[in-house]
């Protein structure tokens, strides 16, 4: 309703302003000035203690070019020398003047006219002080002309102001023009010479500047629209013209209100309405009158206090009109508008703010809704301000410089947060003062009209009312109380004062520094977005990313300001300089960390969390080195940024000093923000696509919060009252679950369960041979379904793997169990839980366990591991050794004659896939001759950052060719080229596998070999679509032993491979497998239709165990999603389901923690049974 009214006001004002401007285009106002037929006009200018400028101000009024004019200056009992100055300057003499008491007023002491005929238009009235309304009433009584123009004496009028103001009275026909209003503009910083405005300039100070915007809005939009409706209820007291006859008939100005200007207009209108006469109140949008706006909060506060009281009083006096159809538009629209939107609005806003505080502190706030609603309102109000500026520019364009318009717009941005709250508060104080009117009514009638009057009153009212000194002298008190009072006076009060003073001082310094930090953080965001754009082009949901990004940066800023202030103030207590210096150093380091983390993200496309603390120094060195190290350009940027930051900290703080009320409000705001947790509200703001989501987050915030959680993990206690715990959700198992383990000894071995032999699903697909088959598991680095096989949403860039899938058992919706390589060996080979940071991170503490390797070795298999890189990475070698692997063949084992991948800054991951396969073939040629069945694990590395491969040029060309084969449009090609090295490495890997299979097929053991091909996780260096995308990999089981091929769309994960393989081998080849095991997986699902029968956790990074899938749903960071047939995620609002998944996930987490502490997975008795021979 409110917004709609503003829209209507904005739109309605356009037509009226346009009409006025067109009218003025061919109007020569000079005609009126010289004509004897022009109506007679009296200017009424009340003056109170205006001695400083009164002579110049009167001269300015006398210089107005208008024939039928008299200028009446009413000296309202000034205490200064105003009257003497006027007498002297204009050669005044006291005359006998009969005042017709048409309106009752206070006593007139004398009327003066000039002896000099040049000043024949001037009349000066000296009267007893009675307030502005009373002074104006005296002016009305004295005036001998038909029209009254009431102005503030210190206003500067434009040359043609009077002509423009009077013209509407001459244009009346069937409707009587009873009053005419004019625009009041702000003259602060303008050049005024001899009472004339010489040069217009935008005010330099903040308060006048924001009031300029406020005035533009009110005068150009608001009043113009109301004029068009003939519903104007207020003509500014600074400059307005009235039909004297009507003004007298309605009794003149009301001295019993502080809003006499509005009250008169309303009363005149009411009179006309009650008489049933047609009338108009007109309004001139031209800038006619210039005045000085309050430049201090004190004066502004009093002004706004007075305005709201004036509004209340006026509306109260004329309450009969409220929704009274007798008063037509005045009663049905104008009055209600003023009542609801002008009088009640501050009270409603204030009430809303109080409610907001209470709700926020009680944690009852829906922050998502609140913030979107809040920003919606902010945006709307700013739009309204911008529209007002546009109207000003298109119409009168008083501020010619473009920079002034920009300043005005920037100032407008601060209004809702700084200026508007103060105005609302002043209005509230005004309303509060109204309730005290019984005491202060008499005083209030004596409210002055000029700023100086108010300033004088302020100084009087600020005298402490409860000074204790006289009391102690006059009132005898018992010694105890006296002692208490004196202790209070001597110690407590000074201590409190000192503390407040200290906090105030340190906060003033701090706030200026902290704003520079905010600027730097926002600058770092811009830099991050620019760097990301240069590397990866425009991200999806770009504007959301930008908006959320800045919001999240601001949230991060809000999170740190309060604790930082605590540290700062302690240091400030020691020494001011130390506090400032350390703050600056800290801020710069923070920004550098932010930028470094941004660089990491841009490189890896995943934000760095606490996994940094989990990797060993060697691992980090290897990762960073292999990914290109720290480029010179980044170092240069960082140096420049440091220099800029230091410059900013030197330049800005002395210029941004927030003091007084603003400082206090800011302090309260900071305290509130840190106490309420409002800054966390943006955590749930996600643009919509995984990569864009990650791009939008504040990397430093993410890193620090994850690190905090890592070092200070929250105590996990089962909340027995939660929905997730109660009912059917306990332990995460529902009655409908088809794959539920029968746990044997959960207390000691949480995951140990009996193994159901009927879970074999692979036998029906294989021909049977006498000797157990060789098993080759090909773990392809980063092989994601996003770019693999048909239906890949980025396009199929692995033509060979795709062709192989057609000849195989192919699970197209398969999932890895980790977002990085660390998880693949334990999950796939051991179907093992993650423990705290991934099973391998247990290193030497790794408990003995069952795995595909040791069970097969027990059954006579020979096992080995092949890797082109360093197998100690992620403790892979330790895990494999724990599983008594026969042979680890990594980078160190490659003989001469093999070429490593190209290095970057001296670092390389090792040997590329082609070389790895070549080496494998050479080595296994010999081992196959031993007659033992083989279980070999191959982990590739070429498709890892930095994607430097041998034959890069060739594969870059292949990438181009492949895009053409896929029929990608030029636009899509352009997007894909941002990741050309990634795609080239994928094509290289595909070629390598192709060659590997071709070569293998020539070997005799090929016929009895089963190949499993899967990805360790999806390559994150190409932007991902959603949370599950990171785990979405293919599983291909290819073998000459296959009876038939099949394609499955059901979901299974790495956890399911070992149980299924062992079940198959047990059934088909009678190998010995354990009857009880701790497999996390229940086995592969060979249902062709889309479904998920599993309930598994998935670990994103070594420190992020936040994802869980169960049935057709995924729980990620406590957000529930429905999994679609193409592995798309859609947010789901299903509390029942959420509870179910949360309970299941919690049940797993509890068991996982148990393992982590007890380090017991499988009893020794079972392990001993399956010791390798």
């Amino acid at each position: 309703m409110l917004l709609l009214s503003y829209v209507l006001i904005g739109l309605y004002s356009i037509g009226e302003t346009q009409k006025h401007l067109r009218k003025n285009a061919f109007t020569d106002f000079r005609v009126l000035a010289a004509s004897v037929h022009a109506p007679t006009v009296s200017i009424l200018a009340p003056a109170y203690n205006e001695g400083l400028n009164i002579v110049e101000n009167v001269r300015s009024l006398l210089s107005i070019y208008y024939t039928n004019l008299e200028v009446i200056i009413i000296n309202d009992g000034s205490k200064d020398d105003s009257l003497d100055k006027l007498i002297e300057a204009y050669d005044l003499e006291k005359i006998d003047f009969f005042i017709q008491q048409q309106i009752d007023t206070k006593e007139v002491r004398g009327v003066y006219k000039s002896r000099n005929s040049i000043y024949h238009k001037l009349i000066v009235v000296d009267k007893v002080n009675g307030g502005k309304a009373d002074a104006l009433n005296v002016g009305i009584n004295i005036s001998s002309n038909d029209y009254l123009v009431c102005i503030d004496v210190d206003c500067i009028l434009e040359q043609d102001a009077l002509l423009k103001m009077i013209k509407p009275f001459l244009e009346q026909t069937d409707k009587r023009v009873i009053a005419s209003g004019g625009v009041v503009r702000i003259a602060n910083s303008c050049t005024i010479e001899e009472g004339r405005l010489v040069k217009i300039k935008l005010a330099d100070d903040y308060l006048p500047q924001i009031q300029i915007l406020e005035y533009i809005r009110a005068f150009i939009l608001g009043r113009m629209a109301w004029t068009r409706l003939n519903g104007l209820m207020l003509i500014s007291g600074a400059f307005g013209a009235f039909d004297k006859e009507i003004a007298i008939q309605c009794g003149g100005y009301n001295p019993n209100t502080v809003g006499e200007d509005m009250e008169l207009v309303v009363r005149m209108r009411r009179l006309m309405e009650e008489r049933g006469e047609e009338y108009v109140v007109t309004y001139i949008p031209d800038p006619l009158c210039w005045t000085e706006a309050p430049a201090s909060f004190q004066i502004l506060g009093r002004q706004r206090n007075r305005w709201i009281r004036g509004t209340f009083e006026t509306l109260y006096f004329h309450r009969i009109m409220f929704f009274n159809p007798r008063y037509h538009l005045l009663g049905m629209l104008s009055y209600p508008y003023w009542f609801f939107f002008e009088l009640c609005a501050p009270a409603i806003e204030f009430f809303g703010f109080i409610c907001f505080l209470i709700f926020a502190l009680l944690g009852m706030m829906d922050w998502g809704f609140f913030l979107t609603y809040f920003f919606f309102i902010i945006f709307f109000s700013y739009l309204y301000s911008c529209f007002a500026i546009l109207m000003e520019v298109v119409t009168f364009n008083q501020y010619r410089r473009r920079i002034d318009i920009l300043r005005l717009m920037l100032t407008g941005l601060t209004e809702p947060f700084y200026y508007h709250p103060f105005v609302v508060w002043s209005a509230i104080k005004g309303l509060f003062d109204l309730f005290k009117k019984e005491k202060s009514w008499g005083e209030m009638t004596r409210q002055g009209f000029a700023k100086k009057t108010e300033a004088a009153r302020v100084s009087i009212s600020t005298i402490p009312q409860n000074t204790p000194v006289p009391q102690t002298k006059t009132v005898p008190e018992i010694p105890k109380k006296n002692h208490a009072a004196s202790l209070l006076e001597r110690k407590i009060v000074p201590a409190i004062s000192k503390t407040v003073l200290f906090i105030s001082r340190s906060f003033t310094e701090y706030s200026s520094l902290v704003f520079v930090l905010l600027i730097l953080l926002l600058f770092a965001r811009i830099l991050e977005l620019a760097l990301d754009y240069s590397q990866h082009g425009t991200p999806a949901f770009f504007w959301k990313v930008v908006l959320y990004g800045f919001a999240k940066d601001f949230s991060f800023f809000l999170k740190i300001i309060a604790p930082a202030f605590l540290v700062f103030s302690i240091l400030f207590l020691l020494q001011q300089k130390i506090a400032k210096t350390l703050f600056i150093i800290g801020a710069i380091v923070l920004v550098l960390i932010q930028l470094s983390l941004s660089q990491y993200f841009i490189k890896t496309l995943v934000p760095l969390g606490a996994d940094l603390w989990v990797y060993s120094i060697a691992d980090i060195r290897q990762t960073v080195g292999a990914s290109g190290g720290v480029p010179i350009s980044l170092i240069l940027i960082l140096i420049v940024l440091v220099a800029l930051s230091i410059g900013a900290f030197i330049y800005f703080p002395p210029r941004i000093k927030i003091r007084g009320l603003a400082s206090f409000l800011l302090f309260i705001f900071f305290i509130f923000v840190s106490g309420s947790g409002i800054a966390n509200a943006t955590d749930t703001w996600l643009p919509g696509q995984e990569y864009s989501n990650n791009l939008s987050i504040n990397k430093a915030d993410y890193f620090f919060s994850k690190s905090y959680q890592y070092f200070f993990p929250p105590a996990v206690e089962t909340d027995i009252y939660s929905d997730a715990y109660s009912g059917d959700y306990a332990l995460g198992v529902t009655q409908n679950d088809s794959t539920v383990f029968r746990y044997i000894d959960e207390k000691n071995y949480p995951f140990l369960h009996s193994v159901d032999t009927s879970v074999d699903v692979l036998s029906p697909f294989f021909n049977h041979k006498q000797t157990p088959p060789n098993i080759v598991i090909l773990l392809v680095e980063g092989l994601g379904r996003a770019f693999t096989n048909d239906g890949a949403y980025l396009g199929n860039f692995t033509p060979f793997i795709d062709s192989l899938a057609g000849k195989s058992l192919y699970w197209q919706n398969f999932l890895s169990e980790g977002g990085r390589t660390f998880a693949v060996l334990p999950s796939l080979l051991g179907s093992l839980p993650f423990t705290k940071n991934g099973f391998n991170e247990l290193a030497n503490r790794m408990p003995p366990h069952l795995s595909l390797l040791n069970v097969l070795e027990h059954n006579g298999y020979a096992s080995s591991f092949y890797y082109g890189g360093e197998s100690h990475f992620d403790n892979m070698d330790m895990f494999l050794k724990k599983n008594t692997i026969g042979f680890i063949n990594d980078e160190k084992e490659f003989p001469p004659g093999y070429t490593k991948m190209p290095s970057q800054n001296g670092f390389t991951w090792g040997y590329g896939d082609k070389e790895l396969f070549r080496h494998y073939m050479e080595l296994t040629q010999k081992s196959q001759a031993s007659g033992k069945p083989l279980v070999n694990i191959i982990l590739t590395v070429s498709t890892h950052d930095p994607f430097k491969i041998n034959e890069q040029v060739k594969y870059l060309q292949k990438f181009e060719d492949r895009m053409t084969e896929l029929g990608l449009t030029e636009e899509v090609k352009k997007q894909r080229r941002n990741y050309q090295y990634q795609f080239a490495s994928i094509l290289y890997m595909d070629d390598a596998i192709n060659h590997f299979i071709q070569e293998y097929s020539k070997r005799p053991d090929f016929a009895n070999t089963v190949f499993l091909i899967t990805g360790d996780h999806r390559m994150p260096e190409i932007p991902m679509n959603n949370k599950i995308d990171r785990y979405h990999v293919p599983l291909i089981i290819y073998s000459p032993l296959l009876k038939r091929t099949a394609r499955f769309t059901s979901i299974s994960t790495h956890f399911d491979i070992t149980p299924s393989l062992l079940a198959w081998l047990k059934k088909s080849y009678k190998i010995k497998t354990p009857s009880v095991a701790s497999w996390m997986g229940t086995g592969l699902d060979t249902t062709r239709g889309f479904r998920n029968i599993h309930a598994y956790p998935i670990m994103q990074t070594k420190n992020d165990l936040v994802d869980f899938i169960k049935g057709g749903f995924m729980l990620s960071n406590n957000n529930l999603f429905r999994i679609g047939p193409n592995m798309e995620l859609t947010p789901e609002q299903n509390q029942d389901k959420q509870n179910e998944l949360t309970a299941a996930f919690n049940a797993f987490l509890a068991k996982n923690r148990q393992i982590q502490e007890s380090l017991k997975i499988v009893p020794d008795s079972i392990l001993l049974k399956f010791r390798p021979h």
Partner: protein, 379 residues
């Protein structure tokens, strides 16, 4: 049997409306969409502001450049004895192809025409015609787009003395748009002087106070004086009260003593404003019968008109009105008292004595009134 009250159905419907419509549109998703739309609108406005400022600056710079040349050329043209001897540079003609430049030339010529007369003014008009600007003005005058274009066209036509367009101007003197008819009325007066006032015969729309002042000022500049004595009586009988008021002003301004009787007839006009103007006009057309006439009308008039009548009598009251004026001193309204006191002091030999006696008898308010009158009349 379940009975559902109308109230509960209404409540239910309201609930549904609230849930389905209101709550839906203030959900975060819609609000976010709103933020995006508002953000876009803000950006758009900022772009428009700066585009407009850029446009204005371009116009300013262009105008500055053109004006510089234009002023030189126009000055040269004005100085020539006749337009035939003027040779315009080719650049001028090239420039005139630009609509901005044409507009600017038009403005410059109008400004010059306002300030010059004689040969210089003739040269300006000749240049206006020579450059084909008249066609532009006619086009504007007949524009159906907007009233302000038509009014502008009319202004250009009459400012450039295009008498052949008078029929068109006359047609517009009773246009339904007040600004078009005002310009047309001003135009015909400008071109034909008093003869142009014949539009008063036909206008049905009111003649505003502003327009009356404009016309009176325009008539002052007219060199072609014409006898209006046969037209004014006709206008004084007009059904359009504003025409009557204007005719009264004309009669007073041009001292049409022969029309005194016609003006006197207006004292009984039903319109207060007509009667008010009639009092003022009679003050200028006064003779010995008028004060008595005015005094006779005084009791029945509104306060404003009573004060108007007393103002008219300030210098012309005769002995015949004295008793009535002395009686008026007792009037309840102080303004009437004061104005009456001024008339008495100003017109009668014993006026001051009457006032002093009154002041002695009843000091309040007559003493201050006496002092005031003494002060005003500088006794």
């Amino acid at each position: 049997m379940i009975r559902i009250s109308h109230t509960s159905v209404k409540t239910c419907l309201l609930d549904n409306f609230f849930t389905n419509t209101v709550m839906k549109y203030i959900s975060p998703e819609y609000l976010f969409l709103g933020i995006k739309i508002l953000g876009f609108a803000i950006l758009l406005i900022v772009v428009v502001i700066y585009a407009y400022l850029y446009y204005k600056k371009r116009v300013f710079l262009y105008n500055g450049g053109v004006s510089k040349n234009l002023q030189v050329w126009i000055s040269a043209i004005i100085m020539e004895d006749s337009f035939e001897s003027v040779v315009l540079p080719r650049k001028f003609y090239r420039m005139m192809k630009n609509p901005w430049a044409r507009k600017l030339v038009m403005e410059e010529l109008l400004a010059c025409k306002r300030n010059f007369s004689g040969v210089a003014a003739d040269n300006i008009v000749a240049l206006y015609e020579h450059l084909g600007l008249k066609a532009d003005s006619i086009k504007k005058m007949h524009s159906k787009r907007s009233w302000h274009i038509r009014a502008k066209g009319i202004q250009e036509i009459y400012m450039m003395d295009q008498r052949d367009m008078l029929p068109d101007l006359y047609k517009s003197t009773n246009s339904e748009n007040e600004y078009v008819r005002m310009e047309a009325q001003t135009g015909v007066i400008n071109l034909t002087g008093f003869a142009g006032l014949r539009f008063l015969d036909i206008i049905t729309y009111p003649l505003t106070g502003w327009q009356q002042i404009k016309l009176l000022e325009q008539l002052k500049h007219s060199s072609q004086k014409e006898d209006l004595s046969d037209r004014i009586p006709f206008w004084l009988l007009s059904e359009n009260n504003t025409v009557v008021v204007f005719a009264l002003k004309l009669a007073g301004e041009y001292q049409q003593f022969g029309l005194r009787e016609n003006v006197i007839n207006c004292l009984n006009h039903p319109s207060v404003s007509v009667r008010n103007q009639a009092f003022k006009t009679l003050e200028r057309l006064t003779d010995e019968t008028i004060p008595a006439l005015l005094m006779a009308h005084l009791p029945n008039e509104s306060l404003a008109n009573q004060l108007g009548i007393l103002d008219s009598l300030k210098d012309q009251a005769s002995e015949n009105e004295k008793p009535q004026l002395i009686q008026l001193l007792e009037h309840s309204n102080d303004q009437i008292k004061l104005k009456t006191a001024i008339i008495i002091a100003n017109n009668y030999a014993d006026g001051w004595e009457i006032l002093e006696q009154k002041a002695n008898e009843i000091p309040a308010p007559y003493q201050p009134i006496l002092f005031h009158v003494q002060s005003v009349l500088k006794r």
